[in-house]
Subunit: 636 residues, 2 copies
């Protein structure tokens, strides 16, 4: 079973030489390593796969210190080389994302049932923190739609934001604190791989479902309904909408449709021509200004169009005294923090990695988690709710030519100016235009081509996607996510519990052995049954493997009768795809040998897997049980 | 990377022939199969790996019917050939296990805080049901220590057996009903593989812990303490025992020590010489008779030795009216049923498989589950609590030369006679001798050599064992089990999340590529980095793999600088140990190629894995992305 078998014709000379017995290549046991050493290696591969401290090795203490400072605060890495040229790019992109961040910040805060001003606060402090700690150059930090949706819907289970807005805000800030704590802990404990369990299929399904849920919530503003359901599901929202048709306000609907068409059109233009990214980037701010002007001029607030109302002027008030670590809602707050924390982390890391790959630089996942986590902890003390790197704004940031995290600083300063001077202007901004902005932003989360691609490549992954999508729509946002993650893990476990076993045959005139079902020219070797096992052999599959191998043997015996072939003498098990064997696996080989000894069949396990990092004890144990002899791994 | 590379020197002639380009062996895409067909195959391998209906294929309807009857009731398989010769063996073994079953039945019922008579009832009906439905010839059916312990300790959480014995009995019978329901459902739904998740290491640790907990509970009878703690843990029991030293009764202790020494001695003799199995098999009954006689003659019940007391005469009363499917304890009862059901199933199936392997016949796991499940459902309606195949008694049954399930019938009839005629004799049986019998029975569950073997072979498995052991001792019986199963599954997931990547080098003068770390003679090919990935590539590990591969490349670049080697031109990824790739895996290859294109490194994935059962869509998708060209899989 040569892996590079097509290269064999280049080795004529070598073949001739190796065919003398002297040149016989022996399979050797792995070199001895102590358990402690193995444990150390294992821990390193598990928690430090990127070996972040490699750069410190063999450096003088002085350099080590400055490297450490640069490691913790990446701003010192790029700061010294910062130039006016870079600043020119950053100021353009910073102003662009600010024009997007102000209307989106207000909108997303409303999505989370929070006062609109909290959305602006959250676009001021967190970007400044991230600029110092973060290692991505393209991330535009601020509130995002999905985390806002989840926080709003989870907290609403226990507290009514309309009746008790202060308590609701306190719980939101406390959840943000826990989200930050969890995010930075994951980074510090180097457990970042937990977010890997959200597969691409899960995320696509989840995002699409969440986008629809978010859009449905906007029907309240877009139709001008005042008595809206408190539930999030597809069915209750639609039934509520069509139950309250007499609350629909034609003025609101007219305004909503106009702005929605305008925003979707600009979005469409920017997708077609990425060079004119500013068309869609500027559209939300233009819409807000236009809508506010219209309302102000025609006094539309008296004709059934609801407006934001007065917003307080001034920067973020401190809020560490609003955090509630006791009381009856602690469990909910921690759960909300956990889920919003992991979801927003997933978005932030994925966005950072995407743009880092485009610009060919590295983003350290665990370091990013610490940066995002600290940003949320500080945020929770300065009246900000959960923030992360937003996908849509980061794309605009990238398209606008940002060079460093300075674009975030520019954005934060613009928001600061807005907070201090321009707040009275938002008094007449109608809610309907905010709804239209949210719908336009989340439409991009529905990725039908990617879903189709998954359907084409892997039907099982598509089922996972569908479960996440339908779960979010019909059960709940967290429920759909949990189901999809559960199914993904179940699939992985099933691959191990029911490993594939493939019968191999010889390709004539070669020493290559291939699957009989795939290669028509592969022929069986009389008297031999050659099986390839394709998963680690462990407690979860030894029973299955025993039953399956016995069935292979019985099937061989049946064919033997009908075809008059010679009896089965040898069972060869190809372990090249077996990456690990545990103690149950060792017992499996012993049992198998006892069982087949009685049938007069000789077992031999093919020991290619031994040139993996197997430990000596396992090797010795298998050889001692006469399951396999390293020199026995030949066919004739 | 020949798998059977040592066989290559036999193929001199073949090598010569295949080295002409005409003979180049091509990697071909897998044959097309429809999604439906693949789904069918997958379901078959998952739920019917043993293909139980194979025997029905192509048979006339008459034969099919009689085969079906034989399939459902294995008694019709061996019944027609039953002979007097077989019966002679069965009657000896049946009487032997009956002499063990009567004292153990009484003892185990007390362990579960149930009236002793329930233990005898449970040794009468279930063996008869099993004899008709079961397919093992060696299983001795009845109550077992661990399931009794778990049922007793779980139900005691909510109901006090001393204060409310009727309710406690009702809950025990209802739990038994649920246990039976779960067991037979697992069998019918062919989900038997769920018990495979209890690995050997978990079971050894769990059993040892449970044996110690059970033995500690016997200190009550062995020391004659009347006020004993209700808790099960090591610490509370020991502190209670040494707190109540004034309740210790020297008469009880003396009697206990004598019988304990006697029983352990006979057990030791029978272990040394399996031929005299009857020494340990008969010892419990002899002890009971002796102890009862002593108590009766010296009227020891008046001197501080507690006795069983009057037992009702007569066969099992019907108890289906005792099952409680409503009320506040339903949740506990279902949980107890689930845990005792799965634990007793694990014991029964493992015992059945062990002896079937010794005698070279087959036991169908799923069929056995249905048999054990139905036996418990019927049992719960006839005053029996949870039963299964007991390990110690089955070993005695096997040693005593049992041939078929008739030995269970003989045992049941003996118990029946006891129930109808001999119950008054047990009135004076002291509890202390029952305690000694239990301790002797559970001592065998502590398997130190097996634990040492696991320590030697696999340190991680030993940690699992230790967690199960310490968890049972210090947390709770169910808690220890849950922790050990959790860790086992975590280990499997970790193998996938952090797959090993191994750098391969060429063995000079061959076309074999082996791990550089294991084979000292393996040398790097200049300009090439050859990595072997050893797990399915999926959502759980693509991020890790990307980071790890980049680190390999950087390490190569560093060596290059120091050693003046030529630059890295090609990255070859050996996928021979990759058994599956999902959509995230496909995206990983595309990303990797984009990333390395910028570094001027050409990527090629080695396509041996394609001769696994891969589907065409995945193959096409990879080839389309230019990740790999089937004819590109050569080195020079």
């Amino acid at each position: 079973m040569s892996n590079f078998d097509s290269s064999q014709h280049h080795h004529h000379q070598q073949c001739l030489e190796m065919n003398t017995p002297m040149e016989l290549h022996q399979v050797v046991p792995p070199p001895y390593t102590s358990s402690l050493h193995k444990l150390k290696n294992r821990l390193k591969e598990t928690f430090f796969p990127d070996d972040p401290f490699r750069q410190f090795k063999g450096k003088p203490p002085n350099t080590k210190f400055s490297l450490a400072i640069q490691y913790i605060f990446p701003i010192f890495q790029w700061g010294p080389n910062y130039s006016f040229q870079l600043f020119k790019s950053d100021i353009v992109s910073g102003l662009t994302i600010a024009s997007l961040a102000i209307p989106q910040g207000i909108s997303y805060a409303k999505l989370a049932n929070l006062p609109p001003i909290i959305g602006l606060y959250s676009s001021f402090v967190p970007p400044l923190i991230y600029a110092v700690l973060g290692s991505s150059r393209d991330l535009a930090v601020g509130p995002v739609s999905i985390a806002s949706l989840i926080m709003g819907s989870m907290l609403r289970q226990e507290v009514n934001p309309a009746k008790d807005p202060i308590l609701f805000l306190q719980l939101a800030l406390t959840s943000t604190f826990f989200a930050g704590l969890i995010q930075s802990s994951l980074g510090i404990l180097r457990l970042g791989f937990i977010i890997d369990f959200l597969s691409k299929a899960t995320l696509i399904g989840f995002m699409a479902g969440a986008a629809i849920i978010v859009s449905l919530q906007q029907l309240k503003s877009l139709l001008g309904i005042t008595h809206f359901t408190k539930q999030m599901g597809l069915v209750p929202v639609l039934s509520s909408v069509f139950h309250e048709t007499r609350e629909w306000s034609w003025q609101t609907i007219l305004m909503g449709v106009c702005f929605l068409v305008f925003l979707l059109l600009t979005r469409h233009i920017s997708i077609k021509k990425p060079r004119v990214f500013w068309v869609s980037a500027g559209a939300p701010l233009v819409s807000v200004i236009l809508a506010t002007l219209i309302v102000f001029l025609v006094k539309a607030e008296n004709h059934g169009i609801s407006v934001i109302g007065k917003l307080p002027v001034g920067l973020n008030p401190l809020s560490w005294n609003m955090l509630r670590f006791n009381g009856s809602h602690l469990g909910l707050v921690m759960k909300t923090g956990l889920i919003t924390g992991i979801i927003s982390l997933t978005e932030g890391i994925a966005v950072g990695r995407t743009f880092a790959a485009l610009k060919n630089y590295q983003v350290d996942g665990n370091k990013e988690m610490i940066a995002i986590g600290l940003m949320n902890i500080v945020g929770s003390c300065t009246s900000c709710y959960v923030t992360t790197g937003a996908f849509s704004r980061s794309a605009v940031n990238h398209n606008a030519g940002c060079k460093t995290a300075v674009s975030n600083i520019v954005m934060a300063i613009t928001v600061m100016v807005t907070l201090m001077l321009l707040m009275p202007l938002f008094q007449y901004t109608p809610n309907v235009v905010l709804g239209a902005i949210i719908v336009t932003a989340v439409v991009g989360l529905i990725d039908i081509p990617a879903a189709y691609q998954i359907w084409k490549i892997d039907k099982f992954d598509f089922i996972v996607l569908l479960c996440a999508f339908l779960g979010v729509l019909f059960i709940s946002v967290q429920g759909g996510l949990a189901i999809a993650v559960g199914i993904s893990i179940f699939k992985v476990l099933l691959q191990i519990t029911r490993p594939k076993t493939v019968m191999l045959g010889n390709i004539p005139r070669t020493d290559i052995y291939r699957s009989i079902h795939q290669y028509k020219d592969a022929v069986k070797v009389p008297g031999f049954l050659i099986l390839s096992v394709e998963a680690p052999i462990n407690f979860a599959n030894t029973t299955y493997l025993k039953e399956r191998i016995l069935r292979w043997i019985e099937e061989y015996a049946e064919q033997e009768e009908t075809k008059n072939e010679c009896g089965l003498k040898f069972l060869l098990i190809d372990l090249s795809a077996v990456s690990a064997i545990d103690t149950s696996g060792v017992a499996f080989f012993t049992d198998l040998r006892l069982l087949l000894d009685k049938k007069g069949i000789q077992v031999s396990a093919e020991f290619r897997f031994l040139h993996r990092h197997f430990h000596t004890a396992l090797y010795t144990s298998l050889v001692k049980n006469h399951i396999s002899n390293p020199t026995l791994t030949k066919i004739q």
